[in-house]
Subunit: 255 residues, 2 copies
């Protein structure tokens, strides 16, 4: 009996023409059938936004004269919904989002479209993972893509509980200098907490959000620190945001 | 000695001109000094998106010939960052986001700009709450605004642990028909999981995201069910999304 090939829905937030999704596509094709459903253009830092106020469409995109995937006119989370409900006939085995150009550790979890796509996959009942490469320089995605493909196979083999997904960050180092893999919690130091004040050509003030990355320490129990120390990080993420330990406390408030 | 009046940063995702933020402003002004920093126009369902790719500005907005607040050219989360880092001289005592026109229970937690603003407040170290009114009809915000003001006072008095916030939903009922307040967990049934297929004037397909709300049951332990049964719901939300129970499991994968 022939084993059915795993089917992966691949998306990202850097857009369908980004090199990160190409590299990941190449690596995943070795182990799975891959359907690309990705934003038509870059939708970085759009969080888990979805498009309700106007319609969506998709178009087929070729690459090297061969069909590559579907470009969708929406956010990364839209792409996952649209892929699962409109384009794919059957639920895929896995949703993979990436490779993002830039780390998505710590608080980026909330801002990142890459992460939102994986979260949307999890909410829709599909095992999901997000993959990011920690550099803003010209990236080499090869090592990250190979690692992601390995994890994709492991995720399918080991299964993830419902409404959970994996967030993977890979340091931008030659494979020989990557120290290993750390399964850790997600860091929560605030980022993007500063603004650069400038003048427009009409002498009006405008502001550009900036802010350095979070301060790191030698405590390697969170992704921000472990990543900056040269480890690939894997964080299992859940979708239940209830602060259970506060439920009883708040019941005692005078309401 | 005069007691210092509480200072509240008030924002929303329906935009600075929306009636919900006006109603909440009126109610909060009775107990606090209020600084409004809200999106210039509606930014519903933008999730926790932030604006990194282009600049932000703010302008002063009057209402009834009196200064009302600052309109910001960004998302709800941008407004909180911008308010805290650019407009306000000192950290406020509370960030309040709302009143949203429409419920934000269950999975809306991920899509809602209203919720993202409160989450951003929490990430930035300010006690925060989000308030939504569960109707898409012409709303009367009075009861929800009064309740939110009461909770604002209680939140300041009782304090919330760091990086937690409250998500409040109020049913759109006359106060006498509201059954009470339930402190509950957040529901997680998927929503917006369907698409309406249509033809544009050039005979091309387009799709509008739709989908009914989640199916409710009589189990009143989550916000979706309790809200639909006529209760005001309060869910304490935390910002650590690590699935701790999976950490050890995943360490045993073949990596």
């Amino acid at each position: 009996m022939k084993t059915r090939k795993m089917h992966i829905l691949l998306t990202n937030d850097d857009g369908i023409y980004a090199p990160g999704i190409q590299a990941l596509h190449r690596a995943l094709e070795k182990i799975a059938r891959v359907t690309v459903v990705a934003p038509e253009f870059e939708r970085s830092s759009v969080g888990h936004g979805i498009t309700l106020g106007h319609p969506l469409w998709s178009k087929k995109v070729d690459r090297d004269k061969k069909f590559f995937g579907y470009a969708v006119s929406g956010t990364p989370a839209d792409c996952v919904k649209f892929g699962l409900k409109v384009l794919l006939k059957k639920k895929p085995d896995l949703v993979v989002s990436g490779i993002n150009h830039g780390a998505n550790d710590g608080c980026s979890l909330f801002y990142s479209g890459t992460i939102a796509a994986a979260r949307e996959g999890a909410l829709m009942g599909v095992p999901s993972l997000a993959v990011s490469l920690a550099t803003f320089e010209k990236p080499d995605f090869t090592a990250a893509a190979d690692f992601a493909a390995k994890i994709a196979g492991q995720t399918a083999a080991n299964k993830l509980p419902k409404k959970t997904f994996l967030n993977i960050n890979v340091p931008h180092l030659p494979p020989s200098r990557i120290k290993g893999v750390k399964v850790v919690k997600h860091g929560a130091a605030p980022i993007h907490a500063a603004f650069s004040k400038r003048k427009d050509p009409f002498s009006r003030d405008y502001y550009w959000m900036s802010g350095k990355g979070p301060v790191t320490s030698k405590d390697l129990s969170n992704d921000t620190n472990a990543l900056s120390a040269g480890y690939i990080t894997m964080v299992p993420i859940h979708c239940d945001m209830t602060a259970y330990d506060l439920l009883e406390d708040i019941k005692s408030w005078k309401l």
